[in-house]
Amino acid sequence: MFGSHAFGRSINLFNAEIKTYEDAGLYLYHRISDHEITKVLSSASNLIIHPVEPVTQPKEITHYLLVELKKSIFLAPQSTSRYFITFPIEVSIYISIKKNIEQIDSFTFTKPKYTLYGTPAHGPICKFWKSEVYSKIPDVNPYLEGVMKVKIQNTSSGWAELQKMVFNAYYMKIFYSNFACMNAVVKIQNNGARTSFVEKPISDGMKKALELYKLRKIPIVEKEEFVMEWGL
């Protein structure tokens, strides 16, 4: 599924078929899914299919992901717990020549939804996702869901109820093997929580996916930790 594919191959991904071929002297990229996309490539480039930061579909209007938990987690004061949750999968197609990589397409098989974290006057718009909470790596449909390991530290002096987590996609580190994964940390404090990512896969043998925002060379001025100040 994810990985590098030589030009001329046909790849089936869930409800989509991706083909690269030569036709009448043109090198073509063709995706057939809910709608068809055809693009002309200047050369017979390799395709890289990677999971991408799940905030780009159907339109890039935010770089935050809000995961709402189907069951809230109650955390004892001064405690650390580890859980697994899921996140939506978005697939990105890149072409590469030597070390030059460019994104040519991206899509998702999930149903996108957005929400607001905070009030209409403040707080960011977030991509919305609802997840179960697991104690071990769950079996997921790799085309629809990835697995996120979350280390939750309650550093506050009281019990904390965690119903949702908000993550900044600029700092997401996605890894893949036969499914995609991320490794996150949530630090609960007296006045909210801070979320961040660890650049480490959740199991051995996973490869690092390309980071979209690094590839775009966008200077990022935001802090690495997202501060959840509008409630947990």
Partner: protein, 284 residues
């Protein structure tokens, strides 16, 4: 050493005076550079690059000129005459450039207060559109029909500004009328499903759909939905038709204005009128 410093170079100007002059000029150069660097750092992300460039230059040269002028008497250049002449010229220029200065000051306030940013959709002095540029004297707006409008900053600053995208989310509202014979609960369910299916209708704040009025021709259902400000217009223009199509799929129609007329039994029917006519003829 003291002898050298008090050595008169010309007029009453000594070497120490020249040294003081050089020191103040160098100091003002250093201060100007420091200020320029700090302004660049502070406003890099807040102010457009070309405007920042102008601002840096204004501050840089203002500090140097102030430094040099303040130390000119030290080297025997008397500024009294210059100041008097400068004062009169300044007064004349001041009156002449009143609006320019007002626009300049307003521009600076706009830059620091930032009620609008480049790319925002605003309404100011009855002009709606996208902010293309905020210059030192004027703000450039491209109206929705693509017209270039230059608004003096004084007007922008002193007028009521509506910024449509300053907040992350905005609400829109439709009133959908259905026939009295249709099931309003069913219609509400269908409308809620349409909103739920649309990715940009926000999960939170949640949408409201309810019967708001029992009108003369229809049962009115109000639909209120929150969407990201960035896509507000496209979602608003897309959803109403989707709602209409989905309502029609389950047989709910949007009624035309109508009036129901009741006739009293027998009265007003053609037969009754004919009977009335014949009775009148018999009487005569």
């Amino acid at each position: 050493m003291t002898d050298i410093l008090s050595y008169t170079v010309y007029g009453e100007v000594t070497i120490s005076d020249i040294l003081v002059f050089v020191f103040v000029v160098v100091l003002s150069l250093v201060v100007a550079r420091l200020l320029r660097t700090n302004i660049r750092r502070m406003l890099k992300d807040k102010v457009a690059a070309d405007l920042l460039n102008v601002l840096e230059k204004v501050v840089y040269y203002a500090v140097i000129v102030t430094g040099v002028i303040s130390v000119l008497p030290q080297v025997g250049i008397n500024l009294t005459g210059l100041l008097v002449a400068g004062g009169i010229v300044g007064l004349v220029i001041g009156f002449a450039s009143q609006s320019v200065v007002a626009n300049l000051i307003s521009g600076l306030f706009l830059i620091f207060e930032r009620p609008v940013k480049i790319g925002d959709q605003i309404n100011v002095v009855d002009i709606s559109g996208f902010v293309v540029d905020i210059r030192i004297l004027s703000t450039i707006v491209r109206t929705y029909d693509g017209i270039y409008v230059r608004i003096p900053n004084e007007k922008v600053f002193s007028s009521e500004i509506t910024n449509f995208v300053a907040n992350p989310a905005r609400r829109f509202e439709y009133t959908v009328g259905i026939s009295y014979s249709d099931d309003a609960e069913k219609a509400i369910t269908v409308i809620k499903n349409v909103l739920e299916e649309h990715p940009f209708v926000l999960k939170d704040p949640s949408s409201n759909v309810y019967v708001t009025d029992l009108g003369s021709s229809s049962v009115d259902i109000i639909v209120r939905a929150w969407v990201p400000s960035a896509v507000w217009y496209e979602v608003k223009s897309e959803l109403l038709w989707k709602i209409k199509v989905e309502l029609e799929k389950i047989g709910i129609v949007i009624p035309f204005p109508q009036r129901v007329i009741h006739f009293a039994e027998g009265k007003g029917t053609p037969e009754a009128e004919a009977e009335k006519d014949s009775e009148a003829r018999v009487d005569t």
